[in-house]
Structure formats: C-alpha cells, structure tokens
C-alpha cells in the first residue's frame, strides 16, 4: 500500500509536531491564521513552509482525512485531537521520501503568504490584458474581478512606455528567463492556468487532472512556482524589472507586529481609526499605537489624515523649542495637540534632530 500525497503531507507535519499540538493547530497553520500561537508553532516545529499552504481547507475536511488515516493505522490517537505516527506511518513516510521531496523546494508560506494571492491576481490579469492588446481584441471579460486588481492593471499599463508589443515581449522574456533559472520546476503548472485572448485558463483541479497529478500535490507545486517567482524577482530586481513591479513597495515585508500589520492593511483600504477599532474590537488608543509604529517604519505614510499640516508645524516648532521629547512640555507649547498627534509627528520626523 502506497500513501497518497495528502497523507504524506499530513504525516510529515504531524511528525514535526511530535504529538505536542492538536490537529487544529495544523488547521490554523494550513489556513495561515495570524495568531501568535500559530506563528510561534510554525517556527518552533519548522513548519513555516506550510503556512497558508491550503487556505481553503475546512476544519471538517482535515478532521475526516485524519480519521481515515487513523483507520489505516498510519496514525495513533494519543489523546483528544493529538495524533502521532504509528511505526507503519513512519515507515511509509520514510519510503515516500526516497522518491519525493517534501516540502517542495521553494515553498515558503511564512515569507511569501501575504504576497502570493496578490502576485497571482496581478500576473494573471496582466497576461490576459497583454494578450488581448497584442491581438488587438478590444472586448473581453477580465478573469479577475476584484476592483483593486483591475484598477492596478489599468494604471500599470498606462505607466509603461514600451507599447503593446514591447510590453508583451518583455513579459514573455522575463517569465522565460525566470523559469529557466531552475530546471527542477515545471512551468506548465502555472502556464496552464493563464488566460489569453482565445483560451481561458484552467482551474487548479483541471490543471492537476491534465498533468495527471494528485490535486493536493498540484496545489503545493503551484504555490512552489509562485514563491519561486516572487523570491527570484524580488532578489534580482535589476534582472526582472517588469515582474518585480508586480510587487508593490508598500506590500514588501515590513517589520511590523502582526496586529499592526492588520491595522495597516485596513488603513490602506480606507478605513478610519474609529472603524478599525470597531471592526477589530480594540481600543482606540491601541490603534493609535499601531499608527505611530507605521509612521516610524514607512517613510511615505501620509500623516495629513491624522494631523493637520499647520498643527504638525507647530508641534515641530514646539519640539525644537523644548529640545526634548517630553510630551508634556511640548503640549504646553501646542495646546490643542493631543498626545497621539505629538507622538505621530515625532515619529515621522525622527528623533535624531532633538537628541
């Protein structure tokens, strides 16, 4: 009896967990839940590649799969929701490793999860738009329907100077060069999913079927290619200027705490401080802390929405006046400024001037 790819993945992960975590922590890992518990576990048990590897999996599906594996004596139930590998399970996994690599070489969910979906959306719509441009077809139904993505591609094409033929050939050559960097990856896995002017891309299920691949394996291999592309084009921006431009500056990894990152994403989507505090069920002051943290790290983060320009100026003058970062003293000079506003302005303008 051979084990399936799905079984191999689960055996691998459960082996790493050593029965010290429940199967629900596995579920959270696959889903990419951004809780400190899940993130710590991913690092502690060296499972970071699998972070958000199966974002659409359901709790029930995973539980059923594990139950089946228990019945096949691949797993042993240690206690409620804690499972360890049986000797058969361990043996089968060992056999599996002799013929296969797991996890796929470039799979790095923790590093790339927040860019993966975005990168794919942009790449696939860009290819479709380019294809219709070069074949001079005016009307088509976009394969991605998020407004942000469509706005992005419109703006992107407008910004490029090389004309429709030039854009297509740059895109083609960069993809070709990038794919040829590593012969172990099979670009068909991704190309089958692309939509052009006269053909609609395949769904992941269809592509897996056509390649004769187990669906779970296909999903990981697809992520593997995306992570390979994202990694390569961000490390070698000079080689791949076009593909690199699919990854926006603001989306590149930032050294935020998770909670701040979440606030940052909401701010980017236009939510106000009040709305975010309501949505996230956090105190206003907490959200304000996040904003100060963001202002510290992101140089072009616009403060105008939080501090009127003239007030910012007065706060800065007050800071110079007192030549200290003492909030209380500054406040005596700029009476109408809140502590939040003062902290924000100081964060933005760096403390070096006043140190």
């Amino acid at each position: 009896m051979e084990i399936t790819y799905t079984e191999a993945v689960i055996l691998y992960c459960l082996k790493q967990l050593k029965g010290e975590r429940t199967i629900f922590s596995l579920y959270h890992l696959y889903q990419g839940k951004k809780s400190s518990q899940t993130i710590q576990d991913a690092h502690l048990y060296h499972l970071t590649p699998f972070f958000q590897a199966f974002p659409f999996i359901s709790r029930e599906e995973l539980a059923r799969q594990i139950e089946r594996m228990e019945k096949k004596s691949l797993l042993d139930k240690k206690s409620n929701e804690h499972f360890i590998l049986t000797s058969t399970g361990d043996l089968k996994l060992g056999e599996y490793f002799q013929a296969n690599t797991l996890p796929p070489k470039y799979l790095d969910g923790w590093r790339h999860h927040h860019l993966t979906a975005l990168f794919w959306e942009r790449l696939s719509i860009l290819v479709q738009v380019c294809s219709n441009l070069v074949y001079q077809k005016k009307s088509f139904i976009p394969i991605q329907n998020k407004l942000e993505t469509l706005d992005w591609v419109k703006a992107f094409i407008k910004k490029r100077q090389e004309g429709r033929m030039g854009l297509s050939s740059t895109l083609f050559l960069e993809l070709l060069n990038c794919f040829q960097r590593d012969k172990t990856i099979d670009p068909s896995i991704l190309v089958l999913r692309l939509t052009g002017q006269d053909r609609i891309g395949l769904t992941s299920g269809q592509a897996a079927e056509l390649l004769g691949m187990d669906h779970t394996r296909y999903q990981l291999e697809f992520l593997n290619i995306l992570h390979f592309l994202i990694g390569t084009v961000s490390d070698e921006a000079v080689e791949f200027p076009l593909l690199n431009a699919l990854i926006p500056e603001a989306e590149k990894p930032v050294p935020f705490t998770l909670s701040t990152e979440k606030t940052f994403q909401l701010l980017n989507r236009g939510y106000t401080v009040e709305q975010i505090s309501r949505i996230r069920n956090l105190k206003r002051s907490t959200i304000e802390d996040h904003i100060v943290e963001i202002a510290l790290h992101i140089k072009n983060f616009d403060l105008a929405a939080y501090v009127p320009k003239d007030k910012e100026k007065r706060i800065l003058e007050a800071a110079k006046e007192t030549s200290a970062k003492k909030l209380k003293l500054i406040r005596e000079y700029a009476e109408d400024a809140s502590y939040f506003e003062i902290r924000l302005v100081l964060a933005r303008n760096g403390d070096q001037k006043w140190k």
Binding site: V127, V134, Q144, S168, F172, L176, V191, T203
Partner: protein, 431 residues
C-alpha cells in the same frame, strides 16, 4: 457593458472598499450608466449623491424581485419606491422575464408608477421543445449520463445539490466529456474560469446549481436538463430559457422521480428560519439585552445559538434591522407571520410545479396558461405530450472525437498567448 466598449459605466456595490466608494461617488457625474446593487439603496451617502444628480432613466432589472408574490422576493427591492421618489420620479423601465399578472400589479404599486405602458412578450419559446420524463430513483443517474452522451451540446444540467452536480460532472469527465460543475461553493476565481470556459467553447457541459446562468449570454446552448425539479415554474422557465438564444431548435428535459418534491420542500424550509429558531433568537437577544439595531454585530453568537444557515441568518438580520424602531415583541410576531406566509407560498409554488410535471395535456399550453397567455399555435416539436416521442432529433449530428492526451509545450503556449515566437517555433521554421 465595459467588455463591449462602453467606458462610462460604473458599478456601485458592497464589494467596494470605503476608499473606492468615496472615489466612485466623487466622480459619479462623469458616468453615463450607473449600476447599483439593491443593498446600496440603504446607504445614505449614495442616496444623497444620487439625489443631487439629474437621472433621466431608472431601469429596474429582475423587477419581479420587488413583489412579495414573486418567487425570489428580495426585501431590499422594496426600497426602490422611496428611491424613485428621491430621484424625482424619473421615467422608469421595469424589466422581468417571468411575471404573472399579480406580480406585474405589485411592481406598478411598489414603484409608485402612474402612467404605465405594459409591453408583454409571450413567454413562449417555440424553438425549445419541452420534455418531462419520469424515471425511477436509481435509473435517473443512468439516464442523465445517457442523455449527456447522445445530445448535441453545449448543454446545462441543473441540480438542487452541489454534491450531486460535482458527482455527475466527475462521471461525465470519466466518460470523456468536457464537463465541469458550477455552484456557489466554488472559489470566485474558479467560478469565473468555468463560466468563461463554457462561453468560449472549452467546456461542453456545465453541471450547475441555480447559481449558474445569471448574466451569461451564450447563444448556442442546445439543451437544458433538470436533474431535480426547480422550486417554481418561474425559475424553471428562466433556466430553460437559456437554451436556443440563437433561435435554433433546442430541447429542455426535466427528469422526475416520484418523491422528488420532498427535497424541494426541504430546500424551501431551509431558506427561512423556523418558528423554533425565531423563538430562540428573540429570547436570547432579550436575555443578553442586545438591542434590535445592533443585531448584525452578533452574527457568530446567534448563528451558533439558533443553528442558522447563512441564508437564514442573513434573512433574519435584515428583517430585524429594517424594523429596529418597533417594539421587540411586535417584530417577533411580524417575523413569525411573515415566515409562515412565505413558506405557505413556497409550498404552493412547489405544488404548481408538481402539477406541471403530472399534467397529461400539452406542457407548453400549461405554461402559457400559468402566465395568463392564450395558447398559441404549437410548434411541430412541441412537448413530450404532443408526440415528441423521442429526443433523437436532438442527438449529436456527428460523434465528437475524444481529445487524446497531447503533449503540453508550455513555452509554445506562453508564446502564443503573448504573441511571441518561441524557440520551438523557430526550429520548425528552420526545418
């Protein structure tokens, strides 16, 4: 519309983020066509902005949704009357494909229309032959596979259950058909892909739930099969009406097994909360002193506590929210009555559907009669009760060769998508 080249069209719906909404609202006057989804009719900023503008035509699509008699009554549509008066009662065009007399009267009343012209086109589609077949519960599956294998495609097979749609699609693929399932449980990206593949001719059969079809314009659909009976004649007509848009002869086949209506009753009941759930909802809200206006903020609590499905929850929350100024006990009572009434209506609809299935006379006449139309002259291949004794006429004219496994050359493929010359092509040219 944008796909057809009209750039001055914009959509206002709940998928917009606050930023996008602001941006769209600011530039609203630059557009010629504004598409607005019903739930946006309750958004103050949208109403305010629109009332400042000079709207020359208000078009209401699927207008039957405004009527409580209609089979897919949507409470949001009731706001349209107020919306229209806010716009200064502009010229209004109400469109619906399936409306009985009752529904039409309701549309006029709810929209506050005064001088009206009714343009009634016959619901009859003479190019579609109609067939109802009884099959035992076990035989049905065999029969649908047989039909799909012999009928000239492209075709749609409708199911009431996602699982069944998936199963049959997989079986058809196993037999070499280019078939996929389509239902509300799919990821957004896959939905778009499957729909576009079907339109583009890459798929020959879609095994679908009623989620499929809205807004799809494919002219050459040759057959529509129903594996389960629809919940009402109106949606049946809408679904089979997707066949033969090019005017060529097509066929609609409904497969019925005795007892199928039980599934229909279950589905109808599942769309609304039952009396027990309503009771629990109100008693737990009272216990936790949650006011009626903030009901939507406690989705998880109530869903868990009352065992709501998503549809049940959405209905309950909307119902309560729109009446949150009234007293607690009154809302509860109204909701109870409303649910009883709706359920009764849905059951009536199912019985009518059943009557249609069991009707011994001409099926086409039954449908026309239902929509208050006089029977017209019957087309030659009318229905299964008018000597359409077999569907062979609709069989494939020539067998389609099954696509064998072909070697996939990604370089060539990518080059062709982007209109570039690939190395493989170069080699071929040299040879």
């Amino acid at each position: 519309m944008k796909a057809k080249g009209e750039k001055r069209a914009v959509a206002l719906n709940s998928f917009l983020s606050p930023d996008q909404k602001k941006q769209v609202l600011r530039s609203l006057h630059e557009y010629k066509f504004i598409f607005i989804s019903p739930e946006m009719l309750g958004v103050h900023s949208v109403l305010e902005r629109l009332s400042e503008m000079n709207i020359s035509l208000l078009a209401v699509d699927e207008a039957h949704c405004i009527s409580q008699w209609g089979f897919d009554f949507r409470p949001d549509y009731l706001k349209l009357g107020h919306f229209r008066s806010l716009l200064g009662n502009p010229l209004t065009l109400a469109l619906t494909a399936t409306a009985t007399e009752e529904v039409r009267a309701d549309i006029v009343k709810c929209l506050g229309l005064e001088k009206i012209h009714e343009f009634i086109y016959s619901v009859d589609r003479p190019e579609i032959s109609i067939s109802v077949e009884e099959a035992g519960y076990q035989e049905k599956q065999k029969r649908v596979l047989e039909l799909a294998a012999s009928l000239q495609g492209p075709g749609i097979i409708y199911f009431s259950s996602k699982k069944m749609a998936e199963q049959i699609a997989a079986m058809l693929r196993g037999k070499g058909e280019r078939a996929m399932a389509y239902h509300g449980g799919l990821e957004q990206e896959n939905r778009i892909l499957i729909q576009q593949q079907f339109i583009n001719g890459q798929l020959n059969i879609v095994c679908a739930t009623s989620a499929f079809g809205m807004g799809i314009n494919k002219e050459n659909i040759r057959y529509v099969i129903h594996y389960h009976m629809p919940l009402q004649l109106e949606s049946y007509l809408q679904e089979i009406g997707r066949a033969g848009r090019d005017g060529s002869e097509s066929i609609a086949i409904l497969l019925y097994s005795a007892g199928d209506e039980q599934l229909s009753f279950q589905l109808a009941e599942g769309e609304l909360p039952d009396q027990f759930q309503i009771e629990r909802l109100f008693s737990s809200a009272e216990e936790k002193s949650i006011s009626m206006s903030e009901i939507k903020q406690h989705e998880e609590l109530f869903t868990g506590y009352c065992g709501f499905t998503e549809t049940q929850w959405r209905f309950s929350a909307d119902f309560i929210e729109s009446r949150s100024k009234e007293a607690f006990s009154i809302i509860q009572k109204k909701m109870g009555n409303y649910v009883t009434e709706r359920l009764q209506m849905k059951k009536t609809k199912i019985f009518e559907m059943l009557q249609y299935i069991q009707h011994q006379g001409c099926k086409r006449s039954f449908i026309l009669n239902y929509f208050g139309e006089p029977s017209s002259s019957r087309p030659q291949k009318c229905c299964s009760n008018c000597q359409l004794n077999n569907e062979q006429y609709f069989y494939k004219k020539e067998p389609v060769p099954a696509a064998g496994p072909t070697y996939y050359d990604w370089k060539k493929e990518l080059a062709s998508i982007l209109r570039q010359v690939s190395e493989t092509d170069e080699k071929e040219q040299i040879q």
